[in-house]
């Protein structure tokens, strides 16, 4: 049996040393030095326990990875091809005015939970992108560029809660203002009571382009009227407009650059 006074002093001395070293642990010089010595042994130990793979199997696995990469690239090219073909088949906007851009990020988008209000595209100042330029897909409005860096731009989608722009209905020519709600439903507001709104009518941009060519050109599809709110005592009538395009599923959009 070890006597009390034999091991207690040693215990307390070592405990004190440990506490001192623990408090100085942000200085990792000692740890780095030890690791430099130990790591070769560790590496040899790992490789000794690592089952030696058949070379043929390893080669096949590498080929599999390569083929998967090629498949992904091909799929991407296919999607690009379809998007470009669709866009340039549409004669709504002259082709020379469009700049193709890939969507690289959809911040704060959680499928089924939140709807995106911004997207990031891979074109920026270096590609002559300016703040305010309209972003479209085929003949549908997507949003406006609101931030630009050298090689990337942020596009504020028309579903953004701060988005407002003038529109008109296709069938009845009713004028109004679209207001984003942060989801796929937009509000068509400020429609005069004398104007007629119809369910399933298409809502298109009225055109608010400035002298420098920024903002929405006329005739871009925004959505379809799904509900109408007409109150005889209200100053204006309202309608709910649902987007005709699933923005999160897009991989490519086009910026109207107006060369």
């Amino acid at each position: 049996m070890v006597k009390k006074n034999t091991y207690f002093p040693i215990f307390f001395v070592l405990l004190a040393c440990s506490l001192i070293v623990l408090s100085l642990s942000r200085f990792t010089v000692f740890q780095d030095f030890l690791l430099t010595i130990i790591s070769p042994v560790q590496q040899n130990l790992i490789s000794a326990f690592h089952t030696t793979d058949n070379k043929k199997i390893v080669a096949l696995e590498e080929k599999n990875i390569l083929l998967t990469e090629q498949l992904v690239n091909e799929k991407k090219l296919q999607q690009e091809n379809i998007a470009l073909h669709d866009q340039f088949a549409s004669n709504q906007i002259p082709n020379r005015q469009l700049l193709a851009a890939h969507i690289v990020s959809i911040p704060s988008f959680i499928p089924g939970i939140s709807f995106p209000e911004y997207i990031i595209i891979d074109k920026g100042q270096a590609d002559a992108i300016k703040i305010g330029q309209a972003v479209v897909y085929r003949n549908m409005a997507i949003g406006l560029v609101n931030k630009v860096s050298d090689h990337f731009s942020q596009v504020s989608l028309l579903t953004n809660s701060s988005a407002t722009f003038s529109v008109t209905t296709m069938a009845t020519n009713a004028l109004g203002i679209i207001k984003g709600q942060g989801n796929t439903n937009l509000i068509l507001d400020n429609v005069l009571p004398s104007d007629h709104l119809r369910l399933d009518d298409l809502v298109i941009t009225k055109g608010s382009q400035k002298l420098d060519g920024t903002d929405y050109p006329p005739g871009l599809v925004v959505g379809k009227i799904t509900a109408i709110e007409k109150n005889p005592t209200a100053l204006f009538q309202k309608a709910r407009v649902h987007l005709t395009i699933d923005i999160p599923k897009l991989t490519m959009v086009f910026v109207i650059v107006n060369k």
Binding site: V2, Y7, S18, I46
Partner: protein, 143 residues
């Protein structure tokens, strides 16, 4: 010579622990060493083992040393009142020691890993007992 052998065993256990397995072998080893060698030098072994374990596993340096020192102290305190050179004590000490260690470090499935470590600890205990029997025949070890 004996302590050199124990140091070598600890080093091997630490290398295995930091490289190949996630089981804290060093706890079972230190517990068995403490049970058979009632010497304060075990604390030194625990201290330096802790430093190496933390270095190899990239934990906060000397956290393991503190834990091992307290673990060994508790074994010695228990040894003052009760008999510790038996399989069940080693099993329980290794199990509880591993449970606490892995629990603090928030390892996944720490209960089962502690159980495995406790079984390994018993294995180490039996090896040490055989070694001890071979060295000094006069010792009587109860199970």
């Amino acid at each position: 010579m004996r302590w050199f052998f124990f140091s070598l065993l600890c080093l091997l256990a630490i290398l295995f622990e930091g490289t190949v397995v996630t089981v804290p072998l060093i706890i079972g080893l230190l517990g068995s060493i403490a049970v058979f060698n009632k010497s304060a030098a075990v604390f030194l072994l625990g201290f330096f083992s802790g430093v190496l374990v933390d270095t190899v596993s990239l934990h906060l340096l000397n956290f393991s040393s503190i834990y091992f020192l307290i673990f060994l102290l508790l074994i010695f305190l228990y040894e003052r009142k009760f008999e510790v050179q038996n399989m069940w004590f080693v099993f329980l000490a290794t199990f509880i020691g591993s449970l606490g260690y892995l629990g603090i470090l928030r390892y996944h499935s720490f209960f089962w890993v502690s159980l495995i470590n406790a079984v390994l600890g018993i294995g180490i205990f039996f090896i040490f007992r055989l070694f001890q029997k071979g060295v000094s025949r006069g010792n009587r070890i109860t199970m």
